[in-house]
């Protein structure tokens, strides 16, 4: 049971990175619909950086760069040129599928054996990791998972207790008023898209270099969309996003342990589909959405 919960916490890490970033972007009024492609290119960038340099840090930096650059193009088209976010996102996701396979080939050719790197190791926190039960769950994790413990309170604090947070929220709720107050609406929105790109890059890299130690073109398989959905289901609140990612982390951990234990009580595919079914069920049951007022609507200045 502690194993399962520890794994659940680990598997919720990338979803948290993705969904918190999405919360910030959507609070400012933009949906980052290129999220799946950003995750995928982040996974590729992280793998290439790590494999070539044998350094996890280089991998993460490359993943952040790749994610942010890709998001910058998306942000330029959706925020500055004001084109449709869902449609633009679909184009970017399709392009990312091609780009990831293409660059994998361009960088590594056609390898005979699958290329691997050492996945992230757990770093037990001295003393704390010896705490019964909680120690094994909370304090025997990898560095990215530990960073969650800081990101959630920091994100909540920034969004609700600082002027930057107020600026972001008002940009999404009432851009006209924000503009009158001297806020550069487009610049705020574009920055949030960049942030989502950088964090989405890390999230993607978690799957390739953090968890599996390899890259395949179907490595993300809809996890970007799950992070996107968690942002909705978590009511555009970092704490809600945390709750959502933990639920999905448990679902994923259950799926993994079912697959490896080989118990065929229920079909494997049911567990694979579980997070998606859960999202559908929660989307239907969820009431009184706290949708940012101008979510998905480009801001046009009156002239």
């Amino acid at each position: 049971m502690t194993d399962l919960l520890a794994r659940a916490l680990m598997m919720s890490t990338p979803l948290l990175f993705g969904s918190i970033a999405e919360v910030f972007a959507e609070r400012s009024g933009v949906m980052v619909c290129a999220v799946e492609g950003i995750f995928l290119l982040g996974a590729l960038g992280g793998f290439v950086g790590d494999y070539e340099s044998h350094s996890l840090a280089v991998g993460i930096v490359l993943a952040v760069l790749v994610g942010a650059i890709y998001a910058a193009f998306y942000g330029w088209i959706t925020v500055y040129l004001k084109q449709h976010q869902i449609v633009t996102g679909t184009a970017f996701n399709l392009l990312a599928t091609g780009l990831s396979a293409f660059f994998m080939r361009a960088v590594f050719g056609v390898p005979v054996v699958p290329l691997t790197v050492e996945p992230l190791k757990a770093l037990p926190v001295p003393l704390l990791s010896r705490t019964p039960v909680l120690g094994a769950i909370l304090f025997n994790q990898n560095i990215l998972t530990y960073s969650m413990y800081f990101i959630v309170p920091a994100a909540w604090f920034v969004l609700y207790r600082t002027s930057i947070g107020l600026t972001i929220r008002s940009t999404g709720e009432n851009p006209e008023a924000a503009e009158v107050a001297g806020i550069r609406v487009e610049r705020i929105r574009f920055s949030m898209v960049l942030l989502a790109g950088a964090m989405g890059g890390i999230a993607g890299a978690f799957y390739s270099i953090g968890y599996l130690g390899m890259f395949t073109t179907n490595i993300i398989g809809g996890r970007g969309w799950i992070a996107f959905a968690i942002c909705f289901l978590g009511n555009w609140n970092p704490l809600g996003a945390l709750a959502g990612t933990l639920i999905f982390g448990v679902a994923e951990a259950v799926a993994i342990s079912m697959q490896s234990s080989g118990s065929l009580l229920l079909p494997n595919e049911l567990f694979i589909a579980l997070p998606y079914i859960l999202t559908i069920a929660l989307t239907i049951l969820r009431r009184s959405f706290n949708v940012p007022g101008k979510l998905g609507i480009p801001y046009r200045k009156e002239n």
Binding site: F92, L95, G98, A101, F102, W225, E269, T279
Partner: protein, 354 residues
């Protein structure tokens, strides 16, 4: 030709050229000449009748998934789940084909298989519309997620009930030849599904622009407040358009299983849903335009595949071309709305001068 229509054709043509140019630039990373690659692409699609006909074979499911997005788009709804509806249609068509076998005359069985696919995909799609209409659930999220559920269902069935008798690969037994869609150009793979897809596109055009129901769809899409004031039941429209969209994508599943593969193979056509969205955008959501856009993308797919087989350019160049073309088409929408504003300002000035 109205200036607006001329702008549209011109800007889309430029967007396609730029999209292909951007993809070509990437080939430099592989140390390959883009000029030779595209010369090869162009030469290979017209190298023989079989390959040329394959363009239309590839276009067939694209027309249908393109329509599956375009139709809902007209009602200002977002059906991102065509991929899953496509799989549900393919599963139903396959199950019906395997059950029927040689028992009934071919044409009759084909009709039954078609109806089974349409019913399965239509119901799968209308679920999205239903929860949107009834609970206000975000149709974008639900349709997106439903694709992954359909994929899991297909994988499960292909390793259990539908798996081939040899139990080696995740695919079904081949269908009885009586259940294959007839080939209408001898010596090629071009099957009746293409004609079906074109007819359906024309029917959807008629539905949208020549019937009261289509008018209501467009009113809901254009201005939902006005639609409500006019007493249009937008919930009913939501469910029905999603049913139709699901049925369209499912028909693509039917034409692929019964027209091309004659069996169900795990994870086939994994991008058909996203490609459909691209095609709908390329065609400005016009059902007749969807036919031409699909033929264009079909040609890219055929040429890209041959390029991958013969010159060592990876087949992923197809998705890159599709992605770049789509992005440049989106950019062309931006340019076009700028042109439109300039033109109306000029007209306004002329009117003021009078």
């Amino acid at each position: 030709m109205s200036p607006r229509f001329r702008d549209m054709l011109l800007s889309i043509a430029v967007a396609v050229v730029l999209g292909l140019g951007a993809s070509a630039a990437l080939l430099l990373f592989l140390g390959r000449s883009p000029v030779t690659a595209y010369a090869l692409l162009a030469a290979s699609v017209i190298r023989d009748g079989y390959t040329f006909a394959d363009i239309f074979v590839k276009a067939t499911p694209l027309i249908l998934t393109g329509l599956a997005f375009a139709l809902t788009y007209k009602a200002n709804l977002f059906n991102i789940g065509a991929q899953g509806q496509f799989y549900m249609g393919a599963i139903a068509a396959t199950a019906a084909s395997l059950v029927l076998g040689n028992r009934l005359p071919g044409p009759l069985s084909l009709v039954i298989v078609f109806v089974a696919a349409v019913a399965a995909g239509g119901l799968w799609g209308s679920f999205v519309g239903f929860v949107k209409a009834k609970f206000g659930a975000n149709e974008f999220l639900v349709s997106m997620m439903s694709t992954y559920v359909a994929l899991a269902a297909m994988n499960y069935l292909l390793r259990t009930a539908l798996m081939e008798t040899k139990h080696e690969y995740p695919q079904t037994n081949p269908f009885a030849p009586g259940l294959w869609l007839p080939i209408f150009l001898r010596g090629t793979r071009l099957h009746a599904g293409f004609i079906l897809a074109v007819l359906i596109a024309l029917l959807i055009w008629l539905l949208l622009f020549r019937t009261a129901f289509g008018y209501r769809i467009r009113v809901v899409g254009h201005n939902s407040d006005a639609a409500r004031l006019a007493g249009i039941d937008s919930r009913g429209i939501t469910v029905t358009t999603f049913f139709l969209a699901g049925a369209l994508a499912a028909t693509a599943g039917f034409t692929e299983t019964n027209g091309v593969q004659h069996m169900l193979v795990q994870g086939f056509n994994p991008n058909i849903g996203a490609e459909g969205i691209g095609i709908a955008i390329l065609a400005n959501a016009n059902p007749v335009g969807v036919i031409f856009a699909s033929i264009l993308i079909g040609a890219l797919k055929v040429g890209g595949t041959i390029m991958g087989q013969t010159s060592g350019v990876p087949a992923s160049i197809i998705e890159i071309m599709e992605g770049f073309v789509m992005i440049f088409v989106i950019l062309s929408y931006f340019i076009r709305s700028g042109l439109e504003i300039r033109r109306s300002k000029k007209e306004l000035r002329r009117a003021q001068a009078l």
